[in-house]
């Protein structure tokens, strides 16, 4: 079976420090996977490796059965994988609408065209407008991205990520820094805009994790020590020992109603 | 043989002068991420201030006071202008140093005029520090100081004697540069402020959160870098020439040095300075062209081709562009520079 995302013995060292020490993962198409783990486990590094921001030291990364380790970020993006960033990474001096429109341009094949006008690209404009509505950012359509509130910027961040219609979406701590009410609204948003896609998200909030994910991968010291449905992961003794064995996590999970 | 030795020494001294300048530039760039476009202007101001003080109080006071004046100017600029622009990003920082270079050039021309001024080295440094006497029968001798005229001329036509003096100014340049190098190294590795600077070189925010007054350190480093440039200016201005265009001539070369050596690497700046200094000095002294090289290989070209300027160009004429050629090549094949850690 061809997995949407597959990691085989992935390793990454920065100088002498090995951050990812042989990570194995196989995510089927359409699955929603939450990656959890203690701080410093290497979750963001994993995303950086998959999306091509860093090169792997050894091991394989496959996207829909095709090897993507060693490819440049834009090559990987063109193959249908998109990612968001933990620290908001948007186009600060463009308006919200322009941000989204930039995100759709390549996927619609407009490439480096300087002989067509943006105003005339009906499909791009429609897609950007649809995205704008889905993200509930219509009111801020022409506001410069740097003038948005934090939560709006996070929404825009996700918007740019999914704008290109990628089938595999990586979200790096999408709800970082949000209040409780903002978080629950945001989770609804994420669920809406990623229906039918393969989703990998790094999260710390257990409520989000248990509410959003079909499966959970636990990353500890650069290795995936468990990858299973939430209930199984909670019961896993290795995981309990490394990460979930805390009153706080239990309480958050209980709140989420599991 | 003596040609090689003297040229080598000249090249080394020029390279060390370049290093005096590029070390300050590298320090400023490494710490603050600002490529100081006005660095060569500090060099120029040092020369002119040194000249003015020398006229009033003598060369040696000038050598001490001028760098301090320039350092103060640099620190003041950092505090009142550069700091304000820091929050706008790297491009505005580069722009403000660019603007400063313009203003300093105009001010220098305003105060001292548009033509070169006679900045003489002091009495002590006017002669050669040693002279190489190469006689075709006796071999090579080294004579301290100047060789008497009698030694350099040979009555006998069969005996060829060549006297090559090595100017004291150049020797002094090397001496000061080496002293400065050692002092810099000692300060960075042995003192506490040096430790702070070293860490702020790569992790300024971390250093600030540890309680060190990083803005003040920046001001000190910028001022010190400017002061070093000023010191180089006093020496370079008295050895070579003191004129408004001295900033432009040496300015682009030190940028090449910094990029070739690797942005942010002092060792790289040192290697690149010596390399470029020696290369240029030799190139200027050599009169070979592609045409003459071909000729010595036995290939003669037609009259029309021989007249073509590209082939007739001697190495000496091409010498000025060698650093830039080097720059472009390095950027194509080894963009991090020889020893670079940052990519700017």
């Amino acid at each position: 079976m061809t997995y949407a995302v597959e990691l085989k013995s992935l390793r990454k060292s920065f100088g002498k420090t090995e951050i990812i020490r042989g990570a194995d993962l196989a995510v089927a198409a359409g699955e929603r996977v939450a990656i959890i783990g203690p701080n410093g486990a290497g979750k963001s590094t994993l995303f950086n490796l998959i999306s091509g921001r860093f090169g792997a030291t050894s091991g394989e990364i496959l996207l829909n059965g095709q090897r993507i380790d060693g490819l440049k970020p834009f090559e990987i993006s063109r193959l249908g994988l998109a990612r968001s960033f933990q620290i908001t990474n948007i186009f600060s001096r463009l308006s919200v609408f322009e941000n989204l429109r930039c995100g759709v341009l390549w996927s619609l094949g407009y490439k480096y065209a300087f002989w067509k006008f943006l105003a005339g690209l009906d499909d791009a404009n429609e897609r950007a407008e649809t995205l704008l509505r889905n993200l509930h950012l219509e009111r801020k359509r022409d506001t410069l991205a740097m003038n948005l509130t934090y939560a709006e910027q996070r929404a825009l961040e996700i918007g740019i990520t999914i704008a290109g219609g990628a089938n595999v979406v990586l979200l790096d701590e999408p709800t970082a820094g949000m209040s409780k009410s903002e978080t629950s609204r945001f989770i609804e948003l994420i669920r809406d805009v990623t229906t039918g896609k393969t989703l990998l998200t790094v999260e710390h909030d257990m409520g989000v994790v248990f509410g959003l994910a079909d499966k959970i991968a636990v990353l500890v010291y650069g290795e995936v020590i468990a990858f299973d449905v939430p209930e199984a992961v909670r019961a896993n003794p290795k995981v309990q020992e490394a990460y979930l064995g805390s009153v706080l996590a239990d309480a958050q999970a209980a709140e989420a109603g599991h | 043989m003596e040609f090689f030795t003297i040229s080598m020494l000249n090249g080394l001294s020029y390279g060390l002068l370049l290093f005096m300048l590029s070390s300050g530039l590298t320090l400023i760039f490494s710490m603050m991420g600002v490529l100081n476009f006005a660095h060569a202007s500090f060099y120029m101001v040092g020369a002119y201030v040194g000249y003015s003080i020398a006229r009033v109080a003598g060369f040696w006071p000038g050598l001490v006071i001028a760098p301090l004046v320039v350092a103060a100017l640099g620190a003041a600029f950092e505090k009142y202008c550069l700091r304000r622009v820091h929050k706008f990003g790297h491009v505005p920082e580069l722009l403000i140093t660019f603007g400063l270079s313009y203003v300093m050039l105009e001010l220098v021309q305003l105060i001292w005029g548009r033509t070169a001024v006679e900045f003489q080295p002091p009495e002590l440094l006017r002669g050669p520090v040693f002279t190489l006497v190469n006689s075709s029968i006796d071999g090579m001798h080294l004579l301290w100081g100047a060789a008497p005229a009698a030694m350099c001329a040979s009555a006998d036509a069969a005996v060829r004697i060549v006297c090559s003096p090595f100017p004291a100014t150049r020797g002094f340049m090397m001496f000061i540069a080496l002293v400065m190098l050692v002092a810099l190294w000692l300060m960075l590795t042995r003192t506490r402020i040096g430790l702070v600077i070293q860490s702020a070189l790569t992790h300024p925010e971390m250093v600030e959160s540890l309680g060190h007054n990083v803005p003040r350190v920046f001001m000190l480093v910028f001022g010190a870098g400017a002061g070093l440039a000023g010191l180089a200016g006093v020496i370079g201005g008295s050895t070579f020439v003191t004129e408004p265009s001295m900033a432009a001539t040496v300015g682009s070369v030190i940028f090449v040095v910094v990029v070739v050596g690797g942005m942010g690497s002092l060792a790289g700046a040192f290697v690149a300075s010596i390399l470029i200094g020696v290369l240029q000095t030799f190139a200027v002294a050599l009169d070979y062209s592609v045409f003459s090289a071909l000729k010595s290989a036995g290939i003669t070209l037609s009259a029309a081709a021989a007249d073509h300027s590209l082939l007739k160009l001697t190495l000496a004429q091409v010498a000025p562009i060698l650093p830039y050629l080097f720059l472009v090549l390095i950027l194509i094949f080894r963009p991090k520079g020889l020893m670079g850690t940052r990519e700017g």
């Binding site: 948007i90 463009l94 105003a119 740019i160 | 722009l95 313009y102 305003l110 300027s309 004429q317 950027l331």
Partner: protein, 432 residues
């Protein structure tokens, strides 16, 4: 099919934009009739050239975030190729119509941008700036080394009057050249404006704002920069060709670092963050060079100081100052600030007079020794050797600066208030 107002939401041009372009065309058409002296027409021609050059420079700086210290390479090489083409047209070896000579320059600029641009755009930021500096120095030095092409110190000259054309236009008189250059100016401006509304133009902006993110939405950042660099090189070459046509000569300083620096200085002064900023900068450049230099020898110094102040206090240039105040006016609050502006103007002028008097006196001592120590400054007689003049100037400068600072702080407070009110008004609008 979307309605006009809907299409405008996506960036299509509406009636207001057409009016602005119409006015621009009208101004270009009518200017030499209003300012009809020989000097004026020459200046207007130069302004046209400068507009194209500065706009092409801003494609890199303002739109792409690429700071180039060597843009004169492309306009300069365009000038050289164009002047050779003009010469060839004159002696019949290359029958290109004189009116198309700027285009030849453009193609040359494009070619060299293809050649040098690949290496140049490999890097960004400070390294990019250094590469452009290096290539600029390389070409400048080469210009003196290859006299066959560059004509050595004397440069290359040609005659733009190449014989009679069917329409009777010879391009001999300056006014004919002006209208040709004006045509090129408006066409090039329109094309460069159009570029900003294309996918590549927009992605260039994205690369400016966040070059890393661009890679994650499918675009090769270096490719975006390289292609834009080539387009900018083309228009720079056209400006160079216009220059060759106008001055009938190309000398080595057209590829020099000095010229590149001027593009930077004036584009930035005009305002790199708005499309029309460089146009303002271009006008300033020609006016400063031709007129200001007549008034005072220290004009480059004043310019440098203004540039420094701009970088510190108004990094968006004159264009941004205009736009900020237009915004305030839109909300009806400009009236409150007018008085403060007037006060700032008066106090600033006082400070300027004091400082300028000192600068002029120093220049006078420096340059005009033979004329004696007395000089006229703004209608007042100053004696460069008398303490009274110096003290007076210093006092004026000091007091003026002090007053200016006081006024500036009050103004800043007012400005802050106004901005706060505007922000509240916007929030109210959005909430509704």
């Amino acid at each position: 099919m979307t309605t006009t107002s809907s299409a405008r939401r996506f960036g299509a041009l509406g009636p207001r934009d057409l009016i602005i372009w119409g006015v621009f065309a009208l101004v270009l058409l009518v200017a030499p009739l209003v300012f009809s002296s020989g000097l004026a027409v020459t200046m207007l021609s130069q302004i046209g050239i400068a507009i194209v050059a500065c706009l092409s420079f801003n494609m890199l700086l303002g739109q792409g975030g690429m700071l180039s210290f060597g843009h004169a390479v492309y306009s300069g090489l365009g000038s050289y190729v164009a002047i050779h083409a003009l010469k060839a047209a004159g002696d019949g070896s290359f029958p290109v119509p004189v009116s198309l000579v700027p285009l030849v320059g453009g193609i040359a600029g494009l070619g060299f941008a293809v050649l040098f641009g690949f290496v140049t755009t490999k890097k960004s930021g400070t390294t990019f700036a250094m590469i452009t500096l290096g290539i600029g120095e390389l070409v400048f030095a080469a210009a003196l080394m290859i006299p066959e092409f560059f004509g050595g110190e004397a440069g290359v000259s040609a005659n733009r009057v190449v014989g009679k054309s069917a329409s009777g236009i010879t391009y001999g008189p300056q006014i004919q050249v002006y209208y040709l250059l004006a045509l090129y100016t408006i066409v090039c401006t329109a094309l460069m404006y159009a570029f900003t509304r294309t996918p590549l133009g927009r992605m260039l902006n994205a690369v400016r704002d966040n070059p890393e993110r661009v890679e994650f939405i499918g675009y090769n950042t270096q490719r975006v920069r390289y292609i834009s660099f080539i387009v900018a090189g083309f228009f720079a070459g056209v400006a160079g060709g216009m220059y060759a046509l106008n001055f009938e000569i190309a000398t080595f300083e057209v590829v020099g670092a000095g010229r590149s620096g001027l593009y930077l200085l004036f584009t930035f002064l005009g305002g790199a963050t708005f499309f029309f900023g460089p146009i303002i900068g271009a006008v300033l450049m020609v006016v400063a060079f031709v007129l200001l230099s007549e008034f005072t020898k220290a004009w480059l110094l004043y310019l440098g100081l203004v540039f420094l102040l701009m970088v510190m206090y108004a990094p968006g240039g004159i264009a941004s100052l205009i736009m900020m105040n237009l915004r305030v006016a839109k909300f009806g609050k400009l009236g409150r600030l007018v008085g403060w502006y007037a006060l700032l103007g008066v106090t600033g002028f006082l400070a300027f007079c004091g400082i300028a008097a000192i600068i002029e006196m120093v220049y006078h001592l420096q340059l005009n020794e033979s004329l004696g120590p007395v000089l006229r400054f703004m209608g007042v007689e100053l004696n460069a050797k008398s303490a009274a003049s110096w003290i007076g100037a210093l006092a004026l400068g000091g007091i003026g600066y002090g007053l200016f600072e006081l006024t500036r702080r009050r103004f800043a407070a007012q400005w802050g208030e106004v901005q706060g009110e505007i922000a509240a008004a916007i929030r109210a609008q959005e909430g509704a």
